[in-house]
Amino acid sequence: MSTPTAPDLEQLVAQKYRHGFVTDIESDTLPPGLNEDVIRVISRKKAEPQFLLDWRLKAFRLWQTLTEPTWAHVAHHPIDYQSISYFSAPKSKTDGPKSLADVDPKLLATYDKLGVPLHERARLAGVAVDAVFDSVSVATTFKDRLHAAGVIFCPFSDAVRDHPALIEQYLGSVVPQGDNFYAALNSAVFTDGSFVYIPKGVRCPMELSTYFRINAANTGQFERTLIIADEGSHVSYLEGCTAPMRDENQLHAAVVELVALESANIKYSTVQNWYPGDENGIGGIYNFVTKRGECRGRNSRISWTQVETGSAITWKYPSCVLIGEGSVGEFYSVAVANHLQQADTGTKMIHIGANTTSTIVSKGISAGRAQNTYRGLVKVLPSASGARNYTQCDSLLMGPDCGAHTFPYVEVKNPSAVVEHEATTSRIGEDQLFYLLQRGLSQEDAVNMIVNGFCKSVFNELPMEFAVEAQNLLALSLEGSVG
């Protein structure tokens, strides 16, 4: 295919006016559809270097050869990838509500229950950002502190502009373009995300969550995150938010890549609370995410902690590739599925280096008519002498109509490896419930207490201030699911 000339591009972009999709002068949205021209436009709009355009095009060509995975224990209508618009400039400020007074009171009540700080509510609800002056100044303070420590933390596009060498070296080095259908799609069309680089020996002076929660803009449905922890560095990154975000994209296909060099330590926590659809399964977000970390250096460590309560469908397996000798991979997960939600989530631990260890703790909670699946792979390659894995996988069922499924795959090719697996499935006990009621607790408090107790070992892994919000979130997600 020949490179389109400038007028072609303009014509393509101009189509929106002809179709009358958007009337706003400020907006900059491509018509639905995906082809190489669309990718060229995206890359050009973002003034990307040639290597990145080539990289995207390679991804697109790979994507065309791939098919959607069908092995997950989920069901949905086919997705029409040609009906999605793949480029939209930052949402117009006139688009959202003008002030908190215009926001759905139900949403505000939710923020209240979650204890979301006041200054964050407006941003989360999608109120025009100009209204949120306070948090901007706070964010600037954080920025200065990070800068002083030499930490790079910026939108992905900025990183492409300011640190192209790092991008070229690391982008796709953990999740290659053709890794899977959704990762290939993301690689072709991602528009933004986050980039983190922690220099040698630096301990990031703050939870990147704090900053992120105040500052993150709407990063869109094809988000790209790349975190590099150089030798001996430490970073804790928190993605997402307990509060429901305003979001109109049904399909989300993000890619997250983590690289830990020698003795580096990355802790990546996620709280995902996207719209799960209503009680009848109408609406709701499809969350098809590829997350993977490579422990490249000796004694490096990558730890994933996730609390997944949102989305209609979750397809997500944060994984660790343990290459460096003595490196450590961890996965702590709470996945809640209520009503008609479907969650198929778990992890992969690939042991390559000697004396590598991994820990998997998965807590699945199903309520309503939901289906919750744990899918995990522990793979020990011949090179991984002395590798160890411990997996604990517990499911809690609330009510008679939900399901829990466990698919633990284990492939061990080194006889010195030790792999342990424990699994339980329990129904929320009538006896436990009655016991707590008899002590004077309300039905709701009793259920929350049991569920939070069940998830405790995972919540303990979350950053402190977030653990409390996560507990509240769980309570909200399961509201009214027993009794």
């Binding site: 009655f434 016991y435 009621l437 002590r439 004077g440 607790l441 009793a446 107790g453 069940f454």
Partner: protein
């Protein structure tokens, strides 16, 4: 809390008939319990002792066919289990469940505050609560590590029972029903449990002990002993009735009841 005087009517059960899973277990049971009294309910296996305890606490699987249960002038059967608990009805479970990950202290503080809210009292904060619980733990000879453990999680049978009584001493119920609290206890644990129960013998409180064995009654001396057999109280008496039962067994009473 309303002032309850010795001799006030705490519990009045009249002609209670109840089924479990379609089977008739209670067949017209009458029982009157007043403040300041300790009643022991004894009887053979399957007589309905635990059923009675569960019904009073409000367990949902039991079907009340007829009869009334009045608790401090209220229709007890019309109240949800948590409402009963907040009004001072406490059940010491025969088989206390484990609730993994839920801290003992956390549960007990929530329980105490639920009861205090109901009584229109200020909730206790963490510091006040720790003072209360440490004192009660001393009484119950419980180890400091208890504070960090999950509710009954990994407890031995004896520890679970002791925990029930600890909870009771913290919650200070108006009506305590102890369902075979003595079963599975060695003699030392039995003494500790009895000390806990006796510490709560007061004019404004009534206690119902459900037990198989008269041994418990050596340590907690009841004011009344009732024999529950075939779904109703077939004989009531004082402490000496328990001793007589120990000697003669239940058969002489049970036969009488099944003939009736």
């Amino acid at each position: 809390m309303t002032q309850i005087q010795r001799g006030d009517l705490v519990l009045d059960i009249k002609n209670l008939v109840a089924n479990v899973a379609g089977r008739n277990i209670l067949k017209g049971l009458d029982l009157t319990v007043r403040a300041g009294e300790v009643h022991a309910i004894m009887g053979p296996n399957g007589a309905g002792k635990s059923t009675l305890a569960q019904i009073l606490a409000g367990r949902p699987d039991y079907e009340i066919k007829s009869g009334t249960v009045t608790y401090l002038d209220e229709d007890l059967l019309a109240l949800a289990p948590e409402e009963r608990a907040r009004r001072g009805v406490f059940l010491g479970f025969q088989y206390p469940v484990e609730i993994p990950g839920v801290n003992n202290v956390y549960l007990l503080k929530a329980a105490l505050n639920a009861r205090r809210r109901q009584a229109g009292l200020q909730e206790v904060d963490a510091f006040e609560f720790m003072a209360i619980i440490r004192e009660k733990m001393k009484l119950m000879k419980m180890d400091e590590s208890f504070l960090k453990r999950g509710v009954n999680e990994g407890f031995s049978g004896g520890e679970k029972k002791r925990n029930e009584i600890l909870q009771m001493t913290v919650l200070e119920p108006t009506l305590a029903i102890l369902d075979e609290t003595d079963s599975g206890l060695d003699i030392d644990a039995l003494k500790v449990v009895s000390t806990g129960v006796n510490s709560l013998r007061q004019d404004d409180r009534a206690i119902i002990l459900v037990t198989h064995y008269q041994r418990l009654l050596d340590y907690i001396v009841p004011d009344y002993v009732h024999v529950l057999a075939g779904g109703r109280i077939v004989r009531s008496g004082d402490r000496t009735l328990a001793l007589e039962l120990e000697e003669r067994g239940y058969d002489w009473l049970v036969e009488g009841s099944s003939a009736a």
